[in-house]
Symmetry: C2
Subunit: 341 residues, 2 copies
């Protein structure tokens, strides 16, 4: 109910997903008198409505959700908490979802702070996962190390990358670079069983060199928005140059459309649909406030896949196994002589 | 002498610049026995050699330069200090230049920390200046406010923008966003006479909305490298899509070259040539270690322009006028009722 295009876009995306996946049940949580008319002629059998009378608007503060137990996001989180739903997808206030999910579902054992994981577009190489993309503005080294464990598990289990490479975002590759935060995180991750590359740079987000890039939520937001702005600017520049050079006319729409369409497909955030919230006890996807039906549909697909592969179970296992090196307990972490678990 | 392509690329760039600007004298500072053979047949009248027997290599620590008074960068800085040169351009170790310039030239009064100012490519809109692009990893609010004053002066005096708009890079536009650093900087800049927009986001670096973006050197490096990586990735994607769609053949080199050439020109850092080091008592340009002759030539052009418009004088004035609001002295800053100086 809370997004910029709510409730129309989420409803349309949910309907499209429900039709394509008759084996998956969709619960639309929100103001039934407003939702029902949108479904008059198009309601699939596997889509049902669940009433929530309140809405946390986009202008609210994230903590408002604590005092709004009847808001759609609070009700949806309770459905997951009580086992009546397997996952939640929201294009509403992302801070409210984060707060409601953290308080309502609790954290996976060994997680200090849940984080938002943003899957970047591939451009020429395979995708890179950025954690944290904005949930935690000021971080501690251990949190970043936990983001690394969770991001690695996501990329391995959901994206199927056999041995994801993990890096800490910094201002240069040499160990002397960075801040106390990045140095602390890198020291911890160097003790892990992960394929840890050390420091990586902003240019590596699209170089294909690394699969999981760990950072604080402030820096994560900066680089994510910078990449979006640069990609949009570059796409606009290409269009401008195509027109000026006369290439647009010469090519005609037959060839021009696949080119511009290809760029749109790669750059369009709707293709990813949303960002998983990693570290809470339940599957939750944060979609953009302006998510299109196509973005909602893709977010539902991603959420269903996270449930199918039992991501939560794998995250729980990975964090349990990481406790040794994360907390400095000597009996775990990288094995000295014998291979570990 | 210190860059990845030294001394050949700097020599070639200096020769090209000297030829095009017979009214400007160029001093090549370095190992004369190595430099002289490169100039055998091509030495313009206004280009002379100045010997420096030592070199700070790219692998050195920035502070090594303190113990290397005979290094090319130290000798070049002394030429500026003693009034024997008006500006220095270096494609060597940027940390060494920063250290040598700060120690050798001293800081402009009212500057706590000199900063690197990176001029971003325009893509579709006019250029944006990012300060600090990497000199100061951990910053204080007052330093960021000083970066704003210096960046605004640069854009106004060197780029000729009448009333540059200044923003603080943050993870959202609302005043509640950001970190203690960004909030402190924004509070200070809100008291200034600058056209201060408040917080801007990573996407604004190419949106044309802001002329000067202020940030700490860690974040500045992250977004600069991210923009570079995204732009390169997008350019590669365009080439790939052009080839796949058959457009490349259909267009032929007559139309394809202007397109790819246009992208190269916009994205190529050689077009900017280098980044000015703002806040030291002298004009200094930091070029990339792998700077091409064209980049060196453009860096020399920019340095000459900084001298021509008396940027140093304007920076000194601007910082003097900013002392009131920067230090909280009540008699200066934004006038309460009467218009100020």
């Amino acid at each position: 109910m809370g997004g910029d295009r709510a409730p129309e876009a989420p409803v349309a995306g949910a309907v499209a997903f429900a039709r394509a996946h008759p084996d998956i049940d969709i619960l639309l949580v929100g103001d039934v008198p407003r939702l029902a008319p949108l479904l008059k002629r198009v309601r699939p059998q596997n889509l049902s409505l669940h009433h929530a009378q309140d809405v946390v608007g986009m202008e609210a503060s994230a903590t408002d959700v604590r005092r709004r137990p009847d808001s759609s996001v609070s009700v949806a989180i309770r459905l997951v908490r009580d086992g009546n739903a397997d996952a939640v997808v929201s294009a509403g206030h992302s801070g409210a979802l984060l707060t409601a999910a953290t308080l309502g579902l609790g954290r996976i054992e060994g997680v200090d702070r849940p984080a938002i994981a943003a899957l970047l577009p591939a451009l020429q190489h395979r995708r890179c996962l950025l954690v944290d993309a904005g949930a935690n503005i000021e971080c501690r080294p251990r949190w970043l190390a936990q983001f690394g464990v969770m991001g690695e598990t996501y990329v391995r289990r959901v994206l199927g990358v056999a041995r994801p490479r993990v890096g800490v975002l910094s201002n240069g590759e040499e160990p002397g670079k960075g801040t106390p935060l990045t140095r602390g995180a890198a020291e911890l991750l160097a003790k892990s069983d992960l394929d840890f590359l050390g420091y990586v740079e902003g240019s590596d987000l699209f170089s294909g060199r690394v699969d999981v890039v760990v950072t604080d939520g402030f820096s994560g937001n900066l680089v994510l928005k910078t990449a979006e702005g640069t990609a949009l600017g570059a796409a606009g520049l290409v269009r401008q140059l195509l027109q000026r050079s006369g290439a647009a006319e010469r090519l005609g729409s037959m060839l021009l459309e696949p080119l511009l369409g290809g760029m749109r497909r790669v750059l369009d955030s709707a293709e990813v649909g949303g960002a998983p919230l990693l570290g809470v006890n339940g599957v939750a996807m944060v979609s953009h406030g302006s998510a299109t039906p196509r973005a909602i549909e893709n977010a539902l697909k991603a959420a269903a896949e996270m449930v199918r592969v039992d991501l939560q179970g794998h995250l729980t296992d990975a964090l349990r196994q990481a406790q040794g090196w994360l907390t400095g307990t000597p009996e775990s972490g990288k094995p000295a002589t014998e291979p570990g678990v």
